[in-house]
Every structure is written in C-alpha cells, then in structure tokens.
C-alpha cells in the first residue's frame, strides 16, 4: 500500500533557524500519528506544509501521492477550538456543509444531495440534535464534533488536526478523541494529530513524531517516550515517568509537558 503522507529528507528553515532537518516520515492508511514537541518546534508548520500552504526549504512532501497543493482536496482539517460570535448567522449544519462545497464558487447545485450528505455527517458524529443551533452558542465539545463532521465529510484519506483538544475540559477531550478514533477506523483514514499533550490520545496513537530543538524522533510511544531518547532530542536531561497509564515528562526545570499550556491565537 502506498503511504498517505510521505516526507523525504524534509527540512524547514526560517531565516537562520532550523525547525527540522532531514525528516523522513511515511504515514500508512489508517495510521494515527501524534506530532509532539515544545512551542515553536514546527508542529503547525509541518501541517501547513501538508496542506500546501507552505513550501519545504528542502526535501519532498506528498499527500495521497500528489504534491500537497494538488492533494489538498483529499485532506480533512480540524483546527483548534475558537470562539465564534454569539450572533454569527451560521448553524452547525452550515459549518459542516463547508466540507461539501464551501470552497466551490458558483451557484449552488444539488441542494438535495448536500442536505442528505450533511445530515449523514451530522449523525455520524452524534450532532443531529444541535445541527440547527447557532454555532456561537454551542459548547467547545459540540463545536469540535461539528469540525470533525466537516473534515471527514468527503471521506478523505488523510485527516490533519491542529491541537483540536486545546481549551476543552478533560471529559470533552475524551469524547472528541474517542469519536475521532471511531470515525477514522470506519473510513480507514490516516490521522496526523498535532498536540502538546500525549495522554489524551495515548490509547489511540500508533506512532509519535517528536520535534524538539531542530531534531526529531519517530516511533511508537513506548520507543519515543524514554528518558534517554527525549534527553538526546532536547540536549538536556529529561526524565520520563509512567504513572498508571499516563506519561509525565520532567525537565530540569519542572514538568516539560505542563509547560506547553500556552493558548495560541
């Protein structure tokens, strides 16, 4: 089977700073890859490359066998939670419908089809009951469910997620990740999931890409989350502790993972 995402010797530089260099990664259909690392390590930049919004400084990238700009319509994208104006005239179903024809200019065609497809997508994420409510009045968990419905509407082979759990409470985090996992298994969708926290996605993750200090590591969570591996990545002493089924990463100046709780715009 061909890889859904393929990065070969990919590198990214901004000015003189190297975000990552010589990155090789192939994501197989149906695989769940979490991308971790501190702020500024280039996690979101990597997603932008896969979306065709940024060019690599070196190496090659392909999505579903195509250059990212051409593969764009085969990619679903779930961003982090954002606040919508309470009065915004947009319902849940309108947000989901963007996944059907939001990018298409011209007079609307096949409205009946669109309605059926949107209804199916809404049902698949259990969002039918609030499909007609204004988006600005929904909870964070409800909004992210709609985002997932939108992103997966065209059954894309690849789903890119940029911190979709940020500023959700733990129970909603669990709900949203479980939903994401169920939906991607149904469709065999590959998932590249950028997050600053491994624990909420740990039960579902196949492999981890860890970016730090211009270096990177790829492997199963058990392979990457070791004191030795992370210490050599960061170039500093890092302790990885397993507490029950959770992973805690401790740096010289405290808990590394907990230091990343910055809310980005």
């Amino acid at each position: 089977m061909t890889a859904v995402v393929e990065l070969r010797a990919a590198s990214m530089r901004f000015g003189g700073r190297v975000l990552w260099d010589g990155l090789d990664l192939a994501v197989e259909p149906g695989e769940f890859v979490a991308v971790l690392g501190p702020n500024g390590a280039g996690k979101t930049t990597l997603l932008k490359v896969l979306l065709g919004l940024l060019e690599l400084s070196g190496g090659t990238a392909s999505v579903a066998g195509l250059p990212p700009r051409e593969g764009r319509h085969r990619v679903g994208y779930v961003p982090q939670l954002r606040a919508f104006d309470r009065e915004l005239p947009l319902r849940g179903r309108d947000l989901v419908r963007f996944g059907f024809d939001g990018h298409r200019a011209g007079v609307a065609r096949g409205d009946g089809d669109a309605r059926r497809i949107v209804d199916e997508a809404l049902d698949a994420v259990g969002a039918g009951s609030y499909a007609d409510a204004p988006i600005g009045r929904l909870s964070g968990g409800e909004q992210q469910r709609l985002r997932i419905a939108q992103a997966l509407l065209g059954r894309p082979p690849l789903l890119l997620c940029d911190e979709p759990l940020l500023s959700l409470d733990p129970s909603h985090q669990q709900e949203v990740t479980a939903l994401l996992d169920r939906r991607r298994r149904e469709d065999g969708t590959a998932v590249v999931f950028v997050t600053h926290e491994i624990n909420p996605v740990l039960p579902y993750v196949d492999r981890v890409l860890y970016l730090a200090a211009g270096r990177w590591a790829v492997g199963s969570p058990a392979e990457v989350f070791t004191s030795e591996r992370l210490s050599s990545l960061y170039g500093a002493t890092i302790d990885v502790v397993h507490v029950r089924d959770r992973i805690v990463v401790l740096g010289a100046d405290g808990e590394v993972e907990a230091c990343h709780h910055h809310i980005r715009e």
């Binding site: 994208y77 005239p89 947009l90 204004p134 988006i135 009045r137 890119l160």
Partner: protein, 273 residues
C-alpha cells in the same frame, strides 16, 4: 393626500426604482459586512465617495463617475495598505482623514455648481436621471452577479478563514474582491441616501436580520427585505409628507426594524440558551 399624484410623476417612479436597486444590493452585501466586522469600512468608503465626487467634478464635471472611480481607487488602496482585521480600522481612518481633506480642497478649487458633490453627502433620490438609473442598474447587476458566484467561498472565508485557506479558498483575494464590491455598492447607495446615511442600508437591515435567524440564506433574504421596506417606505412617506427628506424616513424605518428585531430576539432567545 397627494401620493397618487406623485406616483404618476417620473421623478417619483425613478426614485422608487433606484431605491429598490440600492436596497437589494445593500441588503445582499449587508450580512457579509456585519459578519466580517466591516461597518467602519462602509462608513469610510461612503465618506470617501464625497472625495471621489469632488475630484470627478473638478476633472470631468461629473460627480457620479468620479465617485465610482474613487470607490475602485479606495478599495485598491485599502487592500494594498493592510488587510488584517485589527490593522484595517486604523488604515481606513488614516485614508479617510486624508481623503476628506483632499475632497474639501478640490471642492474649493471647483468654481461650478457644487450641489452635485454635496448631494452625495445627504443623497438626492428625487433627482435621479434616466442615465443615472441605467448606471445604478448596471452596478446593481454586477454586484449581485459577483455575489451570487462568490457567495459560498466568501461565507467560508468570512467565518472560518483558517480552515477555508486549508481547503484552498483564496481568502485574501476574496477579501479584496469583497472590498471592491462593498465600495461600489456604498458609492451607489450614497447617491440615494447620502454618504452619511449609507450605514442605515448596508448595516441595519443585516444586523436586524441576524437577530432573527441563524441561517445564512434566510438572513440574506431578510436583510434584502428589510432594506427594501425601509427604502421604499421611506420614499413613499417622504412623498406623502411633501416636506421631509426621504433619508430621514429611511433611517428611521431601518432603526425601527432593528429595534423590533432585537425585541423579537429576546423572546426567542431561551430556545438555544
């Protein structure tokens, strides 16, 4: 009551037709103006229509043509100077201040009859000529046509720019195109209700509409309907009164609709809580 008599007169018929064209285009772009937080852009481009009109008078003796060319220049200038939401308002303020100063200067230089330029400040709906009507209709058809084609990607880009960009929507280009459409619509509307009152057609109907529905399509229809009621109602009321200018009634009806929509919305609110 002389309304029946007035309705036979070409000037009144022209006014009602011109009012309808302006109402439809304003009502059509209004929801996007509100969604994109561009009320100040409407205000700025409409006041700059005065500068364009003054320049048109000075250069070619034609205020309307000047205002329209001015609208295109203003849209291009605002796009070039900076587009991000927070920066945008200050950019508009800067361009607006300079533009109005330039307008005053050019009006001072003009030695003809300056009513055509000052008309654009307060509107002159009872002075619409056949030629102006044709021009209004042409702009109206252009605006409506473009909006029909870009409606969906523009909506996507307006409410969720990040995801729209990820899906390949040309977010920046659409923003620039919409600014041009807005400047044309506003300039066209300024001939009718006047530069100072354009907001009552480009903002109020849409703001009222979005209190009543969350469906983007329903909001657009409501916004067009409210703009039509305000414009045609205002013109008819002015004719009936014989002394009060239509813009007074148009703004009053617009405001009344907005207040009524807010009251209706508070009653409806608990449904979503």
């Amino acid at each position: 009551m002389n309304l029946d008599f007035y309705l036979q007169q070409p000037f009144a018929q022209h006014a009602l037709l011109a009012g309808a064209i302006v109402a439809v285009t304003c009502g059509l772009i209004g929801p996007f103006v509100v969604m994109r937080g561009m009320a100040f852009a409407v205000h700025g481009t409409s006041e700059l229509a005065f500068t364009g009109a003054a320049a048109g008078l000075l250069v070619a003796g034609n205020a309307v043509a000047g205002a329209l060319v001015g609208a295109v220049v203003v849209a291009a200038l605002l796009t070039a100077l900076g587009g991000e939401a927070r920066e945008r308002d200050s950019t508009i303020g800067v361009v607006l201040a300079f533009g109005l100063g330039a307008g005053v200067y050019m009006l001072g230089k003009y030695h003809g009859f300056a009513t055509a330029a000052t008309n654009i400040l307060f509107g002159d709906i009872f002075g619409v000529s056949n030629g102006q009507l044709v021009l209004l209709l042409a702009i109206g058809v252009f605006v409506a046509g473009v909006m029909l084609v870009i409606r969906r990607p523009l909506l996507f880009a307006s409410v969720d720019a990040e995801v729209a960009a990820a899906r390949g929507v040309p977010v920046r280009a659409l923003g620039a195109l919409f600014l041009l459409i807005l400047a044309l619509t506003v300039t066209e509307a300024a001939q009718i209700v006047g530069t100072l009152l354009v907001l009552s057609l480009a903002i109020s109907p849409a703001a009222a509409a979005q209190r009543l529905s969350a469906s983007p399509v329903a909001v657009t229809w409501l916004s067009i309907g409210f703009a039509l009621v305000a414009t045609e109602g205002g013109i008819l009321a002015s004719l009936a009164s014989e002394t009060v200018k239509p813009s007074v009634f148009i703004t009053a009806i617009s405001f009344g609709i907005y207040l009524a929509a807010r009251v209706a919305a508070t009653r409806r609110r608990p449904a979503y809580a």
